[in-house]
Amino acid sequence: MNSKSFCSPRRQRQAIKTGHRCAWTAVLLALWVVGVPRAARAGEAPQWMRALVSVPLPAHDEKTDAVLLYSEDILSVQGNGKIKRTERRVYKILRPDGRKYGKVFANFDSETKINSIHGWCIPAQGKDYEVKDKDALETALFGVEDGELMTDLKTRVLTIPAADPGNLIGYEIEQQVRPYVMQDVWTFQREGTPVREAHYTLQLPEGWEYKAVWLNFSKVEPSAAGSNQWQWVVKDVEGIRPEYDMPPREGVAGQMVVSLIPQGGSQNKGFENWTDMGRWEDGLGQGRREASAEIKQKVVELTAGRAGQLEKMRALAQFVQRDIRYVAIQLGIGGWQPHPAPEIFTHKYGDCKDKATILSTMLKEIGVTSYYVSVNTERGTVTPATPATRWFNHEILAIRLPDGMEDASLVAVLAHPKLGRLLIFDPTDDMTSLGQLRGALQANYALLVTPEGGELLELPKLPAQLNGVQRTAKLSLNPTGTLSGDVREVRVGDRAAAQRSALRSVTKDADRIKSVESMLANSLSTYSLTKASVTNLNQMDQPFIFNYSLVAQNYAKTAGNLLLVRPRVIGNKASGLLETKEPRKYPVEFEGPSRDTDTFEITLPQGYEVDDLPPPIHAEYSFASYESKTETSGNVLRYTRTFEVKETSVPLSKVEDLKKLYRIIASDERNTAVLKPAVH
């Protein structure tokens, strides 16, 4: 799937909202209680780092690149509308690949200013190293390939010397934060690095409160460290070992989400619930969906001659999908707030928020109400256990279907108790037509934004048959083993989108066939395509169809007087995903439900008859099923198979079943039919 539908990574980051003014005394107190690091001699590592030189390492295996000996985050809310955040880390490098921890990356943008950045290395032998702000460089994203034209997100990079195995490296970053929302996330469980000890300190002005929610980790109570100050400590946290197709980091890492609530309640508080967050997002969209005269005129033009509301909705959706180009310019609050509809319409470009905004505006002109829906394109980032937080990176729409609007094409529909039937639609995804939803968004938890506030809801999961490849082939085999004939592939859902996307990026006609060639190369040792055509390349509401004719020499292998024929001619469903030495630790995530079928009919050469056939396969699991059958009818060898993915995820308890299933499929894909000379 083309990744253009993604919004800026900024939306995955956390924010801290500026709060009320507080007295300088509170700040000073906070610094005193938290502990100002003892001054170190120039060039020497500070005492809080030096104290870790001989501490025992947390449990780790021989593949661990580094361990995090100490992590400290201090969040100090000040009364002047700013927050000071201090981040300290100390790693012990264990392996050469651990050198990467010697590069410190500090992101900043319009909400965040880096006051200082310091790094140190305590080598196993010799004097300490120190690097400071002047040694750092700043970078921004370069390139506009994915339409991310302009963002204020930058990174300061500091390289700590001698980040070699056996050495300790540490850093301290002090930031001044002016967040739009008073919320913070403490992620103490790390990818690849076990943690020995992690501290989180929160200092609030008098009268402020906080609300903390723990995710993927047993709740730890804080200790009161002073007036309106709390400290949390976790110890010996194992590292997250990355696995293919695992849930996103937010879904597995131990973390604490902290919402800050100013005294007396303020508009700029941390979200206490999804309703709060929805109100905040709704506020950002206020006044942005007012149609200009040009928009009104365009709606009239687009809907003229369209019979019925659904046809009109389709016309508007197609316009936004096709004619509004994806371009992201996200500066300041622009990372969260859509541009006004007239501006988007004039330029004919915008990001996902803008595309949702312009479509919503146009739908309103034909009397159809729609609502923003915030979602993360990685399913599992937000779950029902997640507290209200800005972990969404994409904006789509929930379109309220008018009463009585029934159509078989409208499948991405959920029934809302108050709003009625809501059609979930992604106007940024120009490969998925109105009525459907791509796999990554299905069964994903998203925030419905209405004037009344927000509501977390599960997006619909579509039937498996709406996403898949139905491949049929009529082929004939000659006595020398050459296989030839016609193949037809009918693709729907994400399978169609993937193929359309691949063809769209082709820069010359002659290359259009390359994707078919690559697919054939996985299954055939020799092949030549004698004919190929595409149907419905740009008709997104129709199945994508590939018709091609092929000749595969030496397809059947000779063995004495036998001919060996693999009935599964094309296509691979097996996967080596779970063939790893280490046992799986996390669930396996699928892109979405799917149903693929193959039907291959091979007319056998004259003078041969079937001597041996592979056995039929039937494997049924709760998350997927596979069945295949090879049979003969007259002189035709017929192979049929169906592979259906029913769920979006396989829990850890069933991962061994998935491994078994993949092995069954791999075996079936290699199975062979044996032909022998016919006895007359």
Binding site: K63, R95, P96, D97, G126, Y129, A136, L137, E138, T139, A140, F142, V144, E145, G147, L149, M150, I160, P161, A162, R322, R325, V327, I329, T346, H347, K348, Y349, R504, S505, V506, T507, K508, A510, D511, R512, K514, E517, S518, L520, A521, N522, S525, T526, Q553, K557, A559, G560, L562, L564, D612, L613, P614, P615, R663, A666, S667, T672, A673, V674
Partner: protein, 660 residues
């Protein structure tokens, strides 16, 4: 007046010129658009293109050192939705060296109406560090649809009193219908220009139009093909059409022979000065070789000793502070290298040369080009293109090349980029041209010897020994030189995974020698290939190409645009013994295959020795470059390889064998 040719600046500028296709005109007026351009829906010379450059112009004026500048104009026709991404424009620049000014842009709709860009031009900070700022001007045009024409023009103002080398980059990722280029050079420095990779078909070379006001170099080009990237192609810098302009500090030498003679003398003087520690070298040789050693024996020992010198060029890059603390100075001569015990790659190579001479061997330094970035051309007279030293030793009447300054380079083998490379064998007269040798496939082998058993369930289990030799060993050692044992183990196991076209279980069982330049790197594994034998009713079938995964996707596409290019010759030799389960019988084995395409060779032979199968497979490639017209033949060769690898051994399991 200062003369500035900072390589970084030049590099960044060239990048900009590459990314941002530049076009026509003088002032800020738009050039007329023809009705045909408005109506276009495709370009016959670029079928399927998402967009093309209709017109492009670059007018550079270095003539006035106070106001050097370059005017750029680009007109792009959008054909498809994908082509609309060309409406996002990013023009990089280095603050202080040049600035981008007077950006104008517009979108012209298919009906001829236009929308002048009045939005913001953003300035994006790409990298900022200690007095260096690399920025980009960024904007995106409005209302761009298939059928639209987008155009923009801007001026690059170079810093006063700085003159840069430059180029006209003709190749772009879009087809260019028409392009015009001019350059008014700075008159105080001699200028050379060249087009190392040729010019597009039908393009006349740049013409120097001397006028009263000075030189004006012009060129026009039509129908420049879009540049495509393919697997196994020569380096891009060797393929893209461009015209390079280089200023000279001194007088301009137009005769290549004289140029290289002069350059060769300079290098020779440096080398001889660096080597001028005869006594120290004699002492070093005395500590390294024995009096009775043969000349070759001496050379081998000297080579091995030189490679024991710590090679800084191949260590983990140190930060500024680490370098300062390490106090590692650059060597002034071979004695420094010998005594300190460390040096950069070239220092070590020259130390080897000094010792070889001190041992009485006939040895010379050669300054050679490398073929990893672009291909050398003597006539271009670019001294920096001869970029590294090797040592040429005359031994037993043969010319042998050595580069001990490349870590883990085995005795007698150069790294691939230095093979088949032209260079100068240095002497006091400037030197003579040589071309380094190309090792044969047999010099760099991957030999796989497996003793396996087939289980009743159809899995293969047993021992695998992989012996890498020559460059195959060298590059594995180089890649893993700064890694630990666990990573090296994983790397070798992954290597086996890439060889076998199935999911496998593999575990390294020995401790390979990672630290030496020994020609052999030996890795032993415990191997299991689950379910390798497949079912066929009463029979079981087993494909013979267990190590055929790497050939599976070679030349999978029918068409090819560029020539094919491979780094070095190599050979794979497989020798497998497969013991069958008790009572199983071999019904048939495939016929032997022998496909000899001269520079490519594939053989496969399977024998059945009383229930033990013996499979021999050999795959040899002595191919470095292959013209595009021969691609179908190479594709055919790989089809034969894959077909043969898929041949099946037919087995009769015990139960069915007994019942027959």
């Amino acid at each position: 007046m200062s003369f500035c040719r900072l390589s970084l600046m030049v590099g960044l500028f060239l990048l900009g010129a590459t990314v941002y296709r530049v076009g026509s005109s003088s002032a800020d007026e738009w050039m007329p658009i023809s009705p045909e351009e408005l109506k276009m829906t495709s370009e016959a010379a670029a079928p399927g293109a998402p967009a093309i450059i209709l017109y492009r112009q670059v007018d550079r004026d270095d003539s006035n050192a106070h106001v050097p500048h370059e005017y750029n104009y680009v007109r792009v026709k959008i054909f498809t939705e994908e082509g609309r991404k060309n409406a996002d424009v990013e023009i990089p620049f280095v603050k202080g060296d040049y600035s981008i000014v007077n950006i104008r842009a517009r979108t012209v709709r298919q009906d001829g109406s236009s929308m002048v860009y009045d939005g913001k031009v953003y300035e994006k900070e790409i990298v900022k560090a200690r007095g260096f700022k690399y920025l980009a001007k960024t904007f995106t045009l409005s209302d761009v649809q298939p059928g639209s024409i987008i155009e923009y023009h801007y001026m690059i103002d170079f810093a006063e009193n700085k003159v840069f080398d430059s180029n006209w980059m003709l190749s772009s990722d879009l087809f260019t219908k028409s392009a015009k280029f001019t350059l008014k050079p700075y008159g105080q420095f001699p200028l050379q220009w060249s087009w190392p990779n040729g010019l597009p078909e039908g393009t006349k070379p740049p013409a120097d139009e001397t006028r009263a006001a000075g030189h004006n170099i012009r060129m026009e080009a039509q129908n420049i093909p879009a540049f495509l990237v393919e697997d196994d192609m020569p380096p891009e810098a060797a393929m893209k059409f461009r015209v390079d302009f280089n200023y000279s500090e001194g007088s301009l030498e137009t005769d290549p022979d004289k140029f290289w003679r002069k350059q060769g003398k300079k290098w020779n003087e440096y080398v001889e000065s660096f080597l001028n520690k005869k006594k120290a070298m004699e002492q070093a040789v005395g500590e390294t070789v024995a009096a009775g050693d043969s000349p070759e024996g001496k050379l081998q020992k000297i080579y091995a000793r030189a490679q024991k010198i710590r090679n800084i060029s191949f260590e983990v890059e140190k930060t500024e502070q680490e370098q300062k603390r390490a106090q590692e100075k650059g060597a002034g001569n071979v004695e420094d290298v010998w005594k300190r015990g460390y040096g950069y790659g070239d220092d070590i190579t020259l130390l080897f040369l000094g010792m070889a001479r001190a041992a009485g061997l006939e040895a010379s330094a050669a300054r050679i080009s490398t073929r990893d970035d672009h291909f050398f051309s003597k006539s271009l007279m670019k001294a920096r293109d001869l970029r590294t030293y090797v040592v040429l030793v005359k031994l037993n009447g043969k010319d042998l090349y050595f580069d001990p300054g490349t870590a883990f380079a085995p005795y007698g083998l150069l790294p691939w980029s230095e093979t088949l490379s032209p260079g100068l064998k240095l002497d006091r007269d400037g030197g003579t041209w040589i071309t380094t040798s190309l090792p044969q496939s047999g010099d760099s082998q991957v030999e796989r010897k497996a003793d396996l058993k087939l289980t009743q369930e159809g899995s293969l289990e047993g021992k695998l020994k992989v012996t890498y030799s020559g460059l195959e060993a060298m590059y594995r050692r180089l890649d893993e030189r700064n890694e630990d044992e666990a990573q090296r183990k994983k790397s070798l196991e992954d290597d086996v995974r890439y060889m076998i076209p199935a999911s496998i279980e593999v575990e390294l069982a020995n401790k390979p020698d990672w630290s030496s330049s020994d020609p052999l790197l030996v890795a032993e594994f415990d191997l299991k290939v689950p379910g390798w034998a497949s079912g066929a009713g009463r029979r079981a079938l087993m494909a013979v190409g267990i190590f055929g995964a790497e050939e599976k996707h070679m030349c999978e596409h029918t068409t090819r645009v560029h020539p094919m290019y491979f780094h070095y010759s190599s050979e794979k030799v497989d020798n497998l013994t497969i013991e069958l389960p008790l009572g199983w019988q071999v019904t048939s084995v495939p016929k032997p295959e022998n496909s000899d395409a001269k520079v490519m060779l594939y053989t496969m032979k399977v024998e059945n020795n009383n229930g033990t199968l013996h499979v021999e497979r050999r795959m040899k490639s002595d191919l470095i470059t292959l013209e595009q017209k021969f691609y179908p033949a190479l594709r055919k060769f790989y089809e034969v390889v894959r077909t043969s690898d898929e041949q099946q051994i037919v087995l009769q399991p015990a139960s069915t064998a007994a019942s027959n």
